[in-house]
Structures are given as structure tokens and as C-alpha cells.
Subunit: 379 residues, 4 copies
């Protein structure tokens, strides 16, 4: 694995590296860690990479890696740059013949998403968007529960993610994370709704198995001088007749890991919270409430199929990325050994899922500027 972005100040770079290497099947062999030459170099040395595999630019990385022997060169690149670079780096990687793992949002526009889909198709390379919530065991359990029908028809979805870290103008204090997340050039045309709202919409679609068909959105920028939205609410209508509310915020003082989803079916309700991510609460109309926990009480912090985390605990977020990398590495292995794998067997979110997020954000943006109550989400 090579890495694009994820240098010293990056939060998400560390997560990807640790998660990818968790099982021992994936090894970081090279990287272009920063657009700043000095920082790129230092980051690579910190990671004890050989100096000749630490590149100054992603283009250089793809060009020079491609020339290495197959046994030596990276098999895929993990793209953890700011949002604006997801598309160009993905395109360049595919052109260079590499498989790609890319952070969300996949692209900044629908045009880009469509170009990317074509490119993937042409090159036949594997492409994964790290919608990491799909890697959380309890989220998968919820999805299966809905699909299995035990909750009856889904009627209602409520998904929220309040955060408070941008309640004041942190981006002017030298805080790197705040800086790029509030900068349209690197972040794209949406702020909060892209950073955390897309996750929520995707989560709702993933668990209910039904696409969002229409939205009515209200986005706001509360902090003066900030060019992007830092708060938003969206009314949702789903293809299957259910409805929902989604709201996200970066100015909700005091909230930290507030992601929470409630799905109300005819016969029962299923609730998942990021703050207790290894549990799932199911309230039944006609029998006792159940709480499912991923970690069995008889094993102190370990679960059979799960990941042996330091401390015998399970960090659901780290684990969720590991689950995705594991699926991706497996499929890369199959492809390298000449096997045919159909997209529906991938076990990781791909260009189709990435495009859903882009479509959602486009519809929300249209809704914000429109006088019409409902805006259709393209497909």
C-alpha cells in the first residue's frame, strides 16, 4: 500500500495506516504524504520508510512505483488528502494501473463522479470509498435486521450528528483540521453537511436498504466569516415510502461523538449510537427490549471474529476501517491471483456508494438555493 496525503498533521492518515496494517496482510511501502515537500519527507522518515519510497508528489509516486517490479511496487494507494484532491489523485492512480482506496466524499461534483466511474470501468481497477460506518458490526447487524423483516416495514428514520468543535472560529487559530474543513477550495462547496451529513445519509440508506429519493434542506453558517455551512437539517423521503430527519452541526457546543440513528419499523425500533458503538438497542412492540453487544461477556474485551485491539478493547472506529481494508485486501488478492470478482461480492463500498453521497450533497445544495419544497435526489 502507498499513501497519498496523511502527513504529520493529519488525523485520518494515522487511522488509515493503523487500520490497514492491523491484520499484518497490508504493509505501507511508500507515500506522497504532503503537498509541502519538507513535510512529505519528514512524515515518510517518521514512518521509517526507505527515503527513495517517500515521494514529493502523487504523480511522482505513481510514475516511479509503476516502474518497479510487481513484487516490489505498491498494489494500491490509499487517498487521505483533503477533499479537493480525491478526484485528481484517484484518476491518476487508476491511470497508473493502481487499485484505489479513497476517503469520502469520493468527488466534489457529479461530473467528476461520473468520469471516475467510467475510468474505473475502463481500467478494471478496484475502487473503494471508505464509508467506514459500513464496517461497524452493529451497523451491519441493524441492516440485516431490517432486511430480514423482523422490524416490519420501516416507517421512519432519525439520524443526527451534532458536534461542537467549530462553535467558534477555530480555523483562524492555526488548527489545521479546522482550516481545511472550512475552506471551500479544499473542502468543496459544502461544509458540515459534507463532512458529517453525507455519512448520516449514507448510514440511513445502508441500514434501511432504501435510497433517499427527495430532500428539503436548510443549511446555515452560524460563525461569522466562515464561507461554508456549519449546521444543517434535512427532511428526507425514501424510495420505499418511509420518511426521515437528518441533522448535523459543528456548532453544537459540548457535543462530541453524537452520531445516533433511530429506525422505526412497524414492529420494532432499532437504535445505534456512536458513543456506545458496540451495542444495538432493539425495542419491540410486543416483547422485552433487547440490547445486543458485540463483545460477549464471557470473553474480556475480545470477540471471536474481531480484531485483537490493544488493551482487549474494541475501538469501533478504528475497527470499522480495518474491516474495510480487510475486505479490500482480500479482493485485491483475488484479483492479483487472476480471479474474477463481481462488484456485488466486494464487501466494501465502491464507486456506486460513493456516487450516492455525491448525489445527496448535490440535491441538498440545490434545495438550499431553491424555493421548491422537495428536490429529487438523482440516481
Amino acid at each position: 500500500m502507498g499513501m497519498a496525503g496523511g502527513g504529520k498533521d493529519s488525523l485520518i492518515g494515522v487511522v488509515h495506516r493503523v487500520a490497514a496494517q492491523m491484520d499484518g496482510d497490508i504493509e505501507l511501502v511508500c507515500g506522497a504524504f504532503s503537498s509541502t515537500r519538507q513535510k512529505a519527507r519528514e512524515s515518510g522518515l517518521d514512518l521509517r520508510l526507505p527515503p527513495d519510497r517517500v515521494y514529493n508528489t502523487y504523480r511522482e509516486m505513481f510514475r516511479r512505483e509503476a516502474k518497479l517490479a510487481a513484487s516490489q511496487r505498491m498494489d494500491f494507494v490509499s487517498i487521505v488528502t483533503p477533499n479537493n484532491m480525491h478526484y485528481p489523485v484517484s484518476m491518476a492512480a487508476l491511470d497508473g494501473g493502481f487499485h484505489v482506496v479513497c476517503e469520502k466524499p469520493m468527488t466534489l461534483t457529479l461530473d467528476e463522479a461520473q468520469n471516475l466511474a467510467r475510468k474505473i470501468n475502463q481500467t478494471g481497477r478496484l475502487f473503494c470509498v471508505t464509508h467506514n460506518l459500513t464496517g461497524i458490526r452493529m451497523v451491519r447487524e441493524a441492516r440485516e435486521m431490517v432486511a430480514g423483516g423482523s422490524l416490519g416495514r420501516v416507517r421512519r428514520v432519525v439520524v443526527e450528528h451534532p458536534q461542537g468543535w467549530l462553535a467558534s472560529r477555530l480555523e483562524t487559530t492555526g488548527h489545521k483540521q479546522a482550516a481545511w474543513r472550512t475552506d471551500p477550495r479544499r473542502m468543496g462547496a459544502s461544509g458540515c453537511i459534507s463532512d458529517i451529513g453525507e455519512h448520516c445519509a449514507f448510514l440511513a440508506e445502508y441500514v434501511t436498504g432504501s435510497p433517499v429519493s427527495e430532500v428539503s434542506a436548510d443549511l446555515t453558517t452560524f460563525v461569522k466569516g466562515r464561507p461554508l455551512d456549519d449546521d444543517g437539517s434535512v427532511l428526507l423521503r425514501f424510495g420505499n415510502g418511509s420518511t426521515g430527519v437528518l441533522w448535523v452541526s459543528q456548532i453544537a457546543v459540548g457535543e462530541m461523538h453524537g452520531l445516533r440513528m433511530r429506525v422505526y419499523g412497524e414492529k420494532g425500533t432499532v437504535e445505534w449510537r456512536e458513543s456506545d458503538a458496540n451495542a444495538l438497542r432493539i425495542v419491540w412492540a410486543d416483547r422485552p427490549t433487547e440490547v445486543i453487544r458485540r463483545v460477549s461477556p464471557s470473553s474480556p474485551g475480545m470477540d471471536a471474529g474481531g480484531m485483537p485491539l490493544p488493551g482487549g478493547r474494541l475501538d469501533s472506529r478504528l475497527d470499522s476501517f480495518a474491516v474495510i481494508y480487510r475486505s479490500f485486501a482480500k479482493t485485491v488478492g483475488q484479483v492479483l491471483s487472476g480471479q474474477e470478482v463481481a462488484p456485488e461480492e466486494y464487501g466494501f463500498p465502491g464507486v456506486k456508494e460513493g456516487t450516492r453521497g455525491v448525489l445527496f450533497l448535490e440535491a441538498v445544495r440545490e434545495s438550499v438555493h431553491s424555493q421548491a419544497k422537495w428536490i429529487k435526489v438523482g440516481s
Copy 2:
């Protein structure tokens, strides 16, 4: 006090009677408890009222009470009928010269609300709408906190009230409460959004001190055969520039007393939950979170100014009605003794507050049928 409605099957009638008589200053002296003669009579006897003060109709009650000596007759009537009777009984009571305490919603239409306001003005009688949340100590605390400015400007309000008791068609099983709450004739043109949504909107306005100026609403009827909405979400815009989300449901399986409000200000967040109604949580941007509890730990279940409840506990709901009746009784006493009291000194919600609820419901109904994104709330 006389009572209109509140017979044997009524839930809310008992609450009003217990709350009103809690302090010993108000005594139930007569009533027209039901539109069914037999039930009206039985209810009166159960309450040990003298048979000649148990009336068959509210018109009879007002006519005959008016003829009694001032020392004997009821001073005011408490109206706890189904919604459709709030307006006619209120009008008749005022015409009869009685002060009025009326359950919400005050009227079913804006026309009625305006007629009622005029009537109150003409007769000079006192009128109270039992928006009981205004009687909850911690809700008042939240309001004062916002007004005092310690949270900074309010940016965002999230208020929700999920209930699950109507997730199936309970109204066809002989359940009286379910029956009238899903019957447009008795309930009016709105279901869930009127039953619990109006409370939420009023709560948001009351605590933030800012009126809802625009709404974008999506109401749904999920249970087949039910003529009224049983679920709804509303995007809110307030006069002061803040925004909000309100969502309510009667089909949220497993939810019971889920009313919860979060108000996000620039410097802090205040949160109140019905399920822990005697507590208020305040999260500050720059210092430890605080939890205020109404009942001091040094007195086992009693609080100085509060209500001595059986068991040394405080039932916040019962107490909230008692607070309102106490204010009302005090003002009635002042008026009876010839004092002038200005509406802003009442200490209980009146026709102005009741009209806010009616305006909110009208705007929501308009929004549901409109293609326009935002509908203005009249004033």
C-alpha cells in the same frame, strides 16, 4: 372551580382536578363532565359533588351557576373536553361571566382564536391556556438562562417528542384516548402535530423567547385507515435568526415520554428531558458541564417552594399543572378583590400564547399542502 369534560375515561381530567386542588385554595364545586348524561352523573357522584351541582351540559352549568350567590357559585371553569369543544365552551363560559382555564389547543382555527381574543377583551374575564410545560421549574430555569444571556445568542433548537402508543390501530380496539385523538371531528384538522407538536413548538418559543417565523413541514399518516397525521417533522426558522428542527411521532415503537429539547447558544448548550424533568444540563464551551436539579440533595424529595407530593417525590407533570392553577387562582383572587392586573403580570399562559399554537398549526398545515419551501407563521 367548575369543570367541563373530564369524566370517567378522561386522563387529563384527573390531572387537572388533582393539580388544581393541590394547594387547598381551589375547590371543585360543580361540573358538566360528559356529553353522555349517565356518565356525567356518575362522574359527579364519584367525585362526591352534591347532585344539584352535577350538570348534564355545560350550557346548563353556566346558566344555573350564574344564578347562584357569588359566594357559592364557581369562580371559573376548567375546560378539559376533546379539542373541538374548547372554543364553544370557552365562549359560553365567558358570556356567562366566568373566568376560564382551557386545555390546549385553544381553538381549532385562527378565526376562532381571533373571536375568542375579542370576547375575552369584551368581557374582561381571565383566560388561561394550560401550556403546562411553562409550569415546569427547569423549563423556566432554561428560559431565564437564555434571557439572561449566559448562553450567548441562541443559534439552534432541536426539540423532539417521539411516542409509540399509536404504532398500530389502537383506536379500533375501544381505547377512548386513541379514539378521540385520531378523530378529526373531535381532534381538529391535525393529529400528532397538534397533540404533541404544538407543545414542542411552544416550548421552543417559550425557552428561546423568540417566535417561530417560518416552517417547512412534512407530516405523514403511517397507520392505514387513520384520517389524521401520526408523525411529522418540521424545519423551523425563528425571528432572531436561529434555526431548528422539531419532530414528533405517535408511531415510534417503544418511545414513551421522549420529549427532549436542546438549545445551542454561542457559549453553551442547555438540555431538558421530560424523562428526567427535574434536571437541567448545561454544557459550557469553556468550563465543566453543570447539572442543576430542582430537588436539593439535602432534603429527601422536598423542595422549599415546591409542592408536597405524596411520597416526597415530585411528579413534574402534575406539578406543572399545579403551578399554572396556582398562578391563575392568585390572579382570580386579585381580580375578585377589585385589583387591576395587567396580562404581562399573569404568570400563566393566556390567549396570546394560545394563539401562537393555533398559528403554528395553521402554518404547518399550509406547508404540508404547499409546494413552497417556507411558509410564514402569522402573528
Copy 3:
């Protein structure tokens, strides 16, 4: 029903009156409400009793009630005095031919308990100790769950009741409740351990169905100048081989209704908390955790067999007393109509249960003054 004690300043008197009269089968007809003549009288008038049924002393009450016609006189007396009067009033009531409902602790000493048991036997009157926790639905559910064997053999019981209201010397500030509860003359030889510890021990025995056989206790008085213990811990051994810890406190600053019990069996754990008294949590070794709630989600705050409480809520404490009074009234009715009822069919706690509490307190007191590690609890 007549009442001994429970005058104006009494907390528990109100609870007993409301609970007893909840169903309409029991009516308060007379009382000797206070040892102070003036207060006795005023309390009676406040309760709208006829003046000739408001007595100055309990002896007068029993003497004069006994002379009334059977249809008129009270059938039983409810004793809600400070602890030191439980025994003499019970004895006098039985001698007068009345059935008795008595607050806990039943007596202050084992001698008294044994005398009382003999007297009950001789007179053939019914006797109930209001161990009200036995009237809580979820506590009964827990007991049945243990008895049914689904948890496997019980291994371990942890029961605690921290309170903080006596963390400072409240008894010198005119606080009546604090005054008698810290006064050995009225309270008996134990303070905190009698006031709330006895409840806990009884709860443990009631739910597990196994008597406490040995104790090792450490009681402390933390507030200077207080003559009775205000905190205590007790190691427990049960007849069936299980062990436990019990701890109670009146100086645990900030704690209010902290009663909590955990019973660990071989196959599962059952947990009940007073602060969420209508729920029971069961953790299974091999399947999802269950939460049982007394109130079904499909009925807003009401439960079929339960008590129609104001506000559609269930106050578990009030309700628990009502359940006991209901059982008692039913048995009194059967006895009055000439039926034979065996003690094991009573459905309310009697002299046997009351004696358990006295035995527990005696053993704890012995343990405190002994150098021996374990003190046997008599039987």
C-alpha cells in the same frame, strides 16, 4: 381504616392515606394523628374527618371505636408513627380487636417481636408490615425469575442505598424528619441501618428467596454529635451458599433515590433500580440483554392491571403501598365475611417478614460490638 400517627409534618402518613384510598375500597374514618393534642386535631380537620372521630390518643381511639357499631367502626388501623410506637400501638390495636397495618421496623427488639407474634396468634387478627418494596411489580418479577430458575443458582447479591440528606446536621435545624430519624428514643438503637438498611436486607431475601444467615457489619456515625449510625456496610452470607454486600448511607452527598439491587446467578444477572423502578434489566450469559418495562409502549403511561395514577404515570413508590393495601383490604374482607385465609395466601408481608427485619438489625448490632467476624442471624 383509622390511622395512628401521620399528622401534618409526616411524610409517610400522606403516602399511606393516598395509597390506601387509591382504589376506593378503603376509607379513612378516624385517626389519632399526633401525640400533640393540637396537632392531632388540626390534622383531622384538614382531612375533613368528623370531629368526634379525631382522637387525642391511640388508646382513646381504640377504646371508643370498639364501642361503635360494626358497620361504623374502623376495621383496621394503619400505624405510621415514629418507630418506638410501632410495638405499643400494635399491641393495643390487637387487644382492641382491630386488624393492623404497621410501618417497618415492626418492633425495636426481638422480645417485642416475639410478644407481638404471640398476640397476633392469640387474637387472630390480621397483621401487615409495610415492606413496600414487595409491592413493586418489577421486584416481584425479579423474585419470580429467581424462583423459576432461569438465572440458575444465585451466587451473589449486591444491594445498596446511598442517600445524602443527612450529610450535615440537619436535625438541629428544625427538620422534623431528620429529628426523629436521628433520635434513639423514637428511632430505636439503629439509625441508617434501620431506616434504609432493613429494606435492603429484606429486598435481598425477598428476591432470592433465601434468608441472610450471617453478617459482618461496620456502622459509622460521621456527623459529629449524632447519636445513631448514619452509614454502614454489611457483608452477607445467605442460607443457600450465596454471598453479598449491602451498604447504605445517609451522608453520601448528592445521592437521592439510590436504592439498587444486582443479583448474579449462574446464567444471568438481574438488576433493579429505584430510580427507574418500572424497569428490570436482565443480562444473560448467552443471549441479548433484556429490559422489561412494566408499562407497555402501546398504552401511554397506563398498565392494564395497574393503578390509574394522575397524569397517566406510575409512581412506583405510591403504587407499591397501594398494592399492599389492596391485598390487605381483600384479606380483611374475606375474614369479615367469615372466610379462613392461611398466612401464606395473604399476599402482603406479615409478622414473619417483620421479624426477619428485627433479626437482621439485632445481628448487625451484635456484629458491630463484637470481635468475631461472622454473627449468625437468628430465626
Copy 4:
């Protein structure tokens, strides 16, 4: 750093390695990872150590490392073996001239503890016991709060750690962790009370700043065929007049990370829970409850002085070890550069703290076999 123990099946080995290397100041350079030659070798290779630094025995490691140049050899050893090896490996390491970090319990007997103390004294090497709870920020905060006097005098300490993973006979199923923790040869003379009870006792002493002076203990083995205790309760008396209860269990079905401590002072209560380890709850007698959180809401998962954890989260357990290693490494650095550092400036728990644990366990064992109620804890 070298490591003794911590091979492939070890839980705690991983924690130590990750925690130690978190900051980049400590590097793992060698190890004797297992008593099984094959496993020792494989573990070393998995960790990418040079084969000549992977030793078969700890004696070999100390002998050969001692011969390397100062710049090359390990500076200290981290001992993460089963309990029985803590003492011999520590002694050998000190004899070899190495500083030592050792898991708790420091030794199995008081004799060993005293020998070890002498050896440390003689060799002048640094010695650290990883009582990791002392590395938790909120635990330190609690300690400072008590020391600062804002809670008033401490009266009462309640500390509990229920676990359920050994509720059935897991040790016979091939579960390595269960196997050695229930084997007296490797675990020592105590089971549950040593594994988690010592932590609790130490925590109580650490936060209150007062040593446990007397204990009255009841230990039980509930699972048939298990030679060591799997559950226990201990009444505590502290040097400063406060009292306490400590209870731990390995058979509490369903409990996982249940460590919780409540300290009740005259003016306030402080509560810490492992399950929400980055928060501290302080209940004041006379002002609102406060909740302190380590992570400030304005920085998403990061805290200034803290550890940059993958995912921007803080795993309190991992972090607590890192804090200890950081202090240790700093002191080693000072010593290597010829500085004098007094033990009270170490900032990590040493032989004195380790001895407290051994003394506690000795007193508990004596109490279990004694008829006397209170057993003094040596000092």
C-alpha cells in the same frame, strides 16, 4: 526497551508495547517473549526484531544484552509475564544492571517484596510497577481534588469492579488468559482479589491519599473445580478515619468494564467510572453537579497535553500506560545523563506502591482464614 513475556497470546503485552512506543521516545529492541522457545521466536519475528535480539530466556537476554555497547543495549526491561515470574525476572534484571518496568502484582509474597526493595536500593536502578490507573487523567484530577480539600474530609469510599468473563469454567476450554489467571502456580495465592481487587484498593488509596489500615474480607470460589477465588468483598478502614467497601467479581454475568469508584466527602462526592473514563462527576452539597471531561468540546477528540491516538479518540487504558512509560522514560533519561532524581519526583508508581498492593493481598488472605473481624494491613 526489552520485554520479558508478552508473546503471541498475551493481551497485556500488546498494550505495553503500543503504549511504550506511542511517543517515539522508546523503541523495542529485544525480548524474551515466551517460556516456549518456538513461541518466543515467532513472537519476535512478528515484531520484526533482528533474530539475534530475540532470546529464548530472560536470563539469556540479560546476559547478552549486558555485553552489548551502551548505545546498543536495552536501557530497561518491561516485565509482562504471568505473576509468578514478576519477582525472579525483576531480580535478575536488576542484577544485570537494567532498570525495570513490571506489571502488578509486584511480587507474590511480602518476603519477596522486601527482598526486591533491598535489591533496588543496592543496585540503584529505577523500578516501576504499572499501576496504570495512576496514569488516568481523571483519576489524577480526583486525587488532586481530594488533596486540595474542596470535598472536605473524606468519609466514605466505595469501589467495585464486577466482571463476568469467568462465570463458567472458561479455563478448561483452551482460553490462555483464563488458564493462567486461575492457576495458583502462575497467579499466586489469590485469584480475583489479586487480578482486579488490588487495583481497586490501590485506586482508593491513591485518590484519597490515605492508606487502608484494616480489612475484613470474604472471598468465594463459585465455579466448581477452580482453585482460586473468583469473587470477593472487603470492608475497609482507612488511616484517616474514613471507611469503605470494595467488591470485585469474575462471575458477575454480563459485567465487562465495571470498575467504578465513589468518594464521599463532607462537602461533595466525586465519582469515576472506567466505562466513561475521561469524565469525572462531582456532586456538591450546595451547588450544581459538575461533569469534567478531559477532552475539550472545541477540539474533536484531541487534548493539548494528551496523546494523539489513532482516530482522534482517547483510549483511556492505553493512554494510562503511555503516561506511565512517558514518566519512566523521562526519568531513565535523566539518570542516564547523570542527574539525581529523588523517588518522590518519579511521577510513576514504584516499589513502595507495589508493596502496598502486596500488603493488601496479605491482609485479605489472613482475614479470610481468621475468625477475627478486623485484620491490620502492614506497612
